[in-house]
């Protein structure tokens, strides 16, 4: 039954993406509204699915498994996208977010479908710390995804302004200043959250007797995550120090760092799950 639900919202997001894509071919005002409505329907199914999983495992969705927390991250991305779409309404330059957000959501849901969905037993033991760990990681990862998308939008907008090109009818991008501001906040929010997630994860692993046995610094996910964390730390410090006027550099760095983090996290998680590399951390 849960598989049916997952396909339900996956199909909704896919349909919404197709509707957004169709605007590039022939733009009509109803297409964007229909895409937002279909995405909202997908979010309802998505919520229902997560609640069902939580009810079944008697655990909050974040504590169950990698499958669940990836879906929670996807849920957060969709929810932020919908709330923002409602807020900006028909403002010029703000109605093509779906084209960027929906492929990422689809990627998250597909990646989640490939991951192990068995509830973790360790999570039940240290509920508070696990909740803090998973919650901060989820928010951090959502910020990373959003930051990555905003960086891409910034680079696209910057390129088209430098090349003096017009955008296709039906496709619009927010101003550079707005994107730079959003990008800044995506880094400022996601980095501390990821750091909290990392510290609590390592702390839990070292402090608990069961965790000590399964935690390893040689774990590919731990190594990948640490590398990206260092890169993000440098970006965070640089951003905090720099004054304005480096929008394109920031967008480039964010796109690279966040893109690498996404590839590391999703790629490694899926690889671990598919070919069975030894890992116990997610």
């Amino acid at each position: 039954m849960q598989q049916t639900h997952l396909i339900c919202f996956l199909a909704s997001y896919f349909l919404a993406f197709v509707l957004e894509l169709s605007r590039l071919w022939r733009a009509k005002p109803w297409q964007h509204i229909a895409a937002v409505l279909v995405t909202a329907a997908g979010l309802v199914a998505h919520t229902w699915y997560l609640l069902g999983r939580s009810f079944q495992s008697q655990l909050p969705p974040l504590l169950s498994s990698s499958h669940d927390w990836l879906l929670v991250s996807g849920w957060l991305v969709v929810a932020i996208y919908l709330v923002y779409s409602l807020k900006v309404g028909k403002r010029e330059g703000y109605n093509s977010f779906g084209l960027f957000v929906l492929p990422v959501v689809l990627l998250l849901v597909v990646a989640a479908a490939l991951l192990d969905d068995a509830p973790s037993k360790a999570a039940q033991a240290e509920r508070f710390w696990t909740m803090l760990h998973a919650g901060s990681l989820s928010i951090g990862i959502t910020g990373v995804f959003i930051g990555f998308l905003i960086s891409l939008m910034y680079l696209l907008q910057h390129r088209r302004l430098k090349m003096k090109m017009n955008l296709r009818p039906g496709f619009s991008l927010p101003p550079l200043a707005t994107l730079a501001r959003f990008n800044y906040w995506a880094v400022m929010v996601s980095f501390p959250m990821l750091t909290i997630g990392l510290i609590t994860g390592v702390g839990m692993a070292i402090s608990s007797p069961t965790g000590k046995a399964i935690f390893s610094w040689k774990d590919p996910i731990v190594i990948g995550f640490c590398v990206v964390w260092v890169a993000m730390f440098i970006l965070f410090l640089w951003l905090a120090r720099k004054k304005t006027g480096h929008g394109r550099q920031v967008a480039m760095l964010t796109a690279w760092a966040f893109g690498f983090l996404i590839v590391t996290l999703l790629g490694l998680q899926v690889l671990v799950s598919l070919i069975g590399i030894q890992s116990h951390n997610g």
């Binding site: 302004l161 003096k164 304005t244």
Partner: protein, 431 residues
């Protein structure tokens, strides 16, 4: 009547060519009129030179020959010291009805880069005024340019061409400026030049909420006037570089014949800025005030010139196809009417004279008759007068209709000459 226009515009030539052929100052205009009058005596001339077009109208009511396209091209080449090969393929010419239609389309902004823009009417008005000041106009160009203003007004009120983004400034700020900044109320704007284009841009930026305005103009008084009108401050033109580091938007509309800053100097000034702020430069000058290489100085400089806005303007044009059709119909009708009226104006003295001569003959014959007949009552006199008038009108009808008919195609010089000779008009023929 003979009429010819030789022109190049944003559709036939790019800005590199247009800026070399532009008449950029009052002195250059005066000099051009002087040379044209010397070269083509007795010909009426009006030069229209804007950032998007360079057009020279020639006209005469006499039978003089108008200069051909090649002769005009040679004049332009010599005047601007630009090799003929550099622009000969970019210039076009129209004559008679097509020339009238061309001017009317230009005045109605149907030929403008930004469809529906209001500025072109005043540019044409000033072009005509300048020609009049140089004694280069005559009855034909006077009537032609007055009619152009009049049809421009009709198109503005009878179509929706003037709705939406209808100035170069609004297109530039709407398409590019708003993709760079999210708001303008906290932006500092530096205006270089104080002409009509500068004011038009300022008006649009003010509507967008701009508060901090600095105007630098070579004529300080003129700059001061513009600045005070829009709540800004005026600075001397040689000080503008020191304001570059505080500016977010630069609108340049000077009439300079060379770029006002070198790439090297611009780079130095940018490097001196404590914060490398985003700079949106709108170069509306023709010739350009900022060299295009300045756009590549750093990531935060966004430079746009007139030609960069063409793509947006074409999209704008596509969206208003229906209104364009309406406006074109009005222009065609007005052009036909102009020519008809003009040809009629040329034939009317002959028609008038013929009519007066024949009626005068009728009246003198009647008075001779009434002197001989003593017992004719007033009522009978009236009846006889009316009959004679009817006969004269009926006799006049065929030649007048023929003249009117022939004048639809142009001034029927041979026919008018024949009529004058046949009926001895212009002589004392009433004996």
């Amino acid at each position: 009547m003979k009429l010819r226009v030789v022109y190049c515009n944003h559709e036939t030539a790019n800005l590199d060519v247009r800026e070399r052929l532009a008449f950029s100052s009052e002195e250059r205009f005066g000099c051009a009129y002087e040379q044209l009058q010397k070269k083509f005596p007795g010909i009426e001339v009006v030069i229209v030179s804007t950032c998007n077009r360079i057009e020279i109208y020639f006209g005469t009511e006499q039978r003089n020959n108008l200069p051909g396209q090649d002769e005009v091209a040679r004049f332009i080449s010599e005047f601007h010291n630009v090799p003929l090969d550099d622009f000969i393929n970019e210039i076009r010419h129209e004559t008679e009805l097509e020339a009238v239609q061309h001017l009317f389309r230009v005045a109605c902004s149907l030929d403008s880069m930004v469809l529906g823009e209001a500025q072109i009417v005043s540019q044409i008005k000033s072009a005509y005024q300048r020609a009049a000041d140089c004694d280069a106009v005559g009855p034909l160009t006077h009537h032609l340019f007055q009619s152009a203003m009049s049809i421009a007004g009709r198109v503005r009120t009878e179509t929706k061409l003037s709705e939406g983004r209808i100035s170069i400034a609004s297109v530039a700020v709407g398409e590019f400026g708003k993709s760079i900044f999210e708001r303008f109320d906290n932006k500092s704007v530096l205006i270089l030049g104080a002409g009509e284009m500068a004011e038009e841009t300022l008006r649009y930026l003010k509507d967008e909420g701009v508060q901090k305005i600095t105007v630098a103009n070579r004529n300080f008084q003129r700059g001061e006037q513009l600045a005070s009108k829009w709540g800004g401050q005026a600075i001397r033109f040689d000080q503008w570089e020191s304001h570059l580091s505080q500016a977010d938007v630069i609108v340049s509309t000077t009439g300079a014949t060379e770029p006002i800053i070198s790439v090297q100097r611009f780079r130095e000034l940018r490097q001196q800025c404590p914060i490398q702020r985003t700079l949106f430069i709108l170069d509306l000058g023709a010739p350009r005030d900022f060299s295009p290489e300045i756009a590549a100085v750093d990531d935060n400089v966004f430079l746009y010139d007139i030609d960069d806005l063409e793509q947006t303007c074409n999209r704008n044009r596509q969206a208003r196809k229906k209104e364009m059709l309406k406006a074109n119909k009005l222009v065609r009708a007005a052009s036909d009417q102009f020519l008809h009226e003009f040809y009629h104006r040329q034939t009317s003295p002959v028609i008038q004279e013929l009519r007066e001569t024949w009626h005068e003959i009728g009246r003198s014959e009647l008075s001779r008759l009434f002197k001989k007949l003593d017992d004719v009552s007033e009522q009978d006199k009236q009846q006889i007068e009316q009959t004679i008038n009817r006969i004269v009108n009926k006799l006049l009808h065929p030649p007048l209709e023929t003249i009117k008919h022939q004048s639809k195609e142009g001034t029927p010089h041979s026919l008018l000459k024949t009529v004058k000779e046949l009926f001895r008009l212009g002589e004392d023929s009433r004996e």
